[in-house]
């Protein structure tokens, strides 16, 4: 009398959101990193707003990417240590679905807050007015791609002690197309061009990642459990 159980997406999403809620301080660290690094730029380069406006779009995207990269290896680390990852691997649901739930939770706790805070950075880096809406759209979509691709790297390095550094080496090349089209969306808008085509390509990258990354991450997790 096996009831039909859910696909494993919602329980794992709820669980990870609850876990993140319990450690709210930890959720804030990518945000603080994001804002803090943006104060480095005027110090390092120039406080002069005309020049800052030139590089604001690209810099915001670089910092969002680094902030996501910073938080991605926490996706599986704690589950691997306390054994719940082992339970996940042998649960009847197909592995990619619970993983998608975990990745969504990760995006809701890092990608989305970054996107919501980015207008503040836009002000600080004197981003032209036309750039704000495209920035919000491209960051929302882009950070989702970053979380998905990052999950594959996190799955590959979960059982390694110093996995964090290796994770960025593995995942960085996959991030490059995302940042190209993400920052292009903003610079197109600032130049007055139609900024929907680059956003559409970013959407295509997102669609591909949603389809493929959970599968690759599931395959990778099955291997690390054998390590």
């Amino acid at each position: 009398m096996a009831q039909s159980i859910n696909s494993g997406f919602t329980p794992w999403l709820k669980r990870d959101l609850l876990l993140a809620y319990r450690r709210r301080g930890e959720v804030a660290s990518p945000l603080v990193f994001f804002v803090m690094v943006s104060t480095l730029i005027p110090l390092g380069l120039t406080p002069e707003s005309a020049q800052l406006a030139e590089i604001a779009a690209g810099m915001i995207w670089v910092m969002a990417l680094l902030a996501t990269l910073l938080s991605v290896d926490g996706l599986f680390a704690s589950d691997y240590q306390d054994g719940s990852l082992e339970q996940l691997l042998i649960s009847p649901q197909l592995l990619p679905m619970p993983l998608l739930g975990k990745i969504t939770a990760h995006w809701l706790t890092t990608g989305l807050p970054l996107t919501l805070v980015s207008p503040l950075l836009g002000l600080m880096l004197s981003l032209p007015a036309a750039g704000y809406l495209p920035m919000l759209c491209s960051l929302a979509l882009g950070t989702a791609c970053l979380s998905l691709t990052g999950a594959v790297g996190a799955a590959l390095t979960v059982s390694l002690r110093k996995g964090g550094l290796l994770l960025s080496l593995l995942v960085m090349p996959m991030y490059m197309p995302v940042i190209i089209f993400g920052s292009a969306t903003i610079s197109y808008a600032i130049d007055g061009l139609n900024w929907l085509p680059p956003l559409a390509i970013l959407g295509a990258l997102f669609a591909a990642s949603v389809a493929l990354c959970p599968l690759a991450a599931a395959g990778a997790l099955r291997i690390t459990s054998a390590n």
């Binding site: 096996a2 329980p11 876990l19 306390d82």
Partner: protein, 213 residues
Amino acid sequence: MSQSTLLKVDNLAFERDDSCLFENINLSLNSGEILQIEGANGSGKTTLLRLLTTALQPSAGGILYKGVALSQCRYQYLSNMLYIGHQPAVKLTLTAEENLRWMVASSAKINQLSIDEALDGVGLSGYSDIPCYALSAGQHRRVALARLLISEAELWYLDEPFTAIDKQGVSFLEARLQEHLHRGGAVLLSSHQDLAIDNLRKYSLSSQAGQTQ
């Protein structure tokens, strides 16, 4: 319950980096039976359990669930199985009640027993809303063992369940196992202790441990 063989393992072998951990392991488990795996440390008890729970792939041999190869009936097999490993899989920042609710939410066969009744059953009645980092390791194991009260799965795989639990916990667990067997379930556990459970068979791994190639 018909005397159906729930689980049959024929000449299972597992290799780790070209050194053969064990080979031609043959065992079967009928409903209402309990099998204790014995063996020195490192003889592969945990590895055998992880092979049975499909966490690891065997390098040779096969596992049959009710006469059907695992690859054909993965969903039925995994939803009818419960595995408690060395680590209790308890999230420290969650309370015992939340931990149990989440563990149950993703398992298929559960009875109507409420979370609180299960926690009372394992003697954690007062602790259900305290975050687990305030509880001891023994209590963490009790949270994991509370799953035994709720789960309706027939096949139980327990890896050294008696470690880090006190005398009262041991007798409680033995009673639960006995009850599970009467209901027609089957248990396969690895342990060094002698268990006061009737119709218990032992299977020693060290004698079967294969040499390196």
